[in-house]
């Protein structure tokens, strides 16, 4: 999954409407914070140690745990397992890893949707 970087240069300060709030100065965009946010997004988008790379790492970890649990399940039903807790513990770990990956994925999609819904 890649998130397109949002350029800080694309936005312009909103001109104050005359007569609406004459006492307040126009809101100046926080340039430093904006550049920082854009940098973080760019890093996530290019996948260099960002969200993309960590998501792929997470999926590989999950796949390894799932295949371990699957192998142990086969061993358990064929009677090659000395201790049933080996399988149940591995299955618990795989379940938790799946839940965490799904939670992270949901949060990432939510963040992407929030950005896409942003009023420009």
């Amino acid at each position: 999954m890649s998130v397109q970087p949002v350029g800080a240069a694309g936005t312009s300060p909103v001109a104050p409407v005359a007569g609406l709030s004459p006492s307040l100065p126009p809101l100046a965009p926080d340039a430093a914070a904006g550049a920082e946010f854009a940098g973080a997004l760019q890093q996530a988008g290019t996948g260099q140690g960002g969200l993309g790379a960590s998501t792929i790492g997470r999926l590989e970890d999950l796949q390894r745990l799932q295949s371990t649990a699957g192998d142990l399940a086969v061993k358990a039903v064929t009677g090659q397992l000395a201790d049933p807790s080996q399988y149940t513990i591995a299955a618990t770990e795989a379940t938790l890893a799946t839940q965490m990956t799904v939670a992270l994925r949901n949060k990432a999609v939510e963040a992407y949707s929030d950005i896409m819904r942003m009023q420009l």
């Binding site: 970890d61 807790s85 591995a90």
Partner: protein, 135 residues
């Protein structure tokens, strides 16, 4: 690096306590194994636990080895036993059933304690994953 190291550590504890249960079971099942007086007696098995690191920075336990009890056992006078020697003696293992029962309780409770750790860790991690979940 694993995400949930607790499961590996607790799992290694479960494995060690199960082997201890196996050893106690072996000792109790052979507590009346009779040998001839010129043969070594059945030797009790003792599981030696050893601390280890499953991976750097992550603890755990493993079976360091199995130690054997006395091969001398005890000589018991049973003249009518088929294995009895000229003096009417046979050799029985030097295993105390009371001590084995105490070890059985310790091994069982240790096994259960490690499984309780797995259970609590699962609850704790689940609660952490639930943070911020949409209603």
């Amino acid at each position: 690096m694993t995400t949930f190291p607790v499961f590996g550590v607790a799992g290694s504890g479960v494995a060690v306590y199960r082997k201890w249960l196996d050893a106690v079971s072996d000792n109790i099942s052979n507590i009346n194994t009779v040998r001839r007086s010129d043969e070594p007696a059945f030797q009790a098995r003792y599981v030696m636990a050893r601390a280890t690191q499953l991976e750097p920075g992550v603890g755990g336990v493993t079976v360091g080895g199995i130690e054997l009890g006395s091969a001398e056992g005890r000589l018991v006078h049973q003249p009518d036993h088929p294995f009895a020697d000229a003096d009417g003696n046979v050799r029985l293992p030097d295993i105390d059933l009371g001590s084995q029962m105490a070890q059985l309780m310790m091994a069982q409770r240790g096994y259960q304690a490690n499984l309780a750790v797995v259970d609590r860790a699962r609850d704790a991690y689940s609660a952490a994953i639930q943070i911020g979940r949409n209603q």
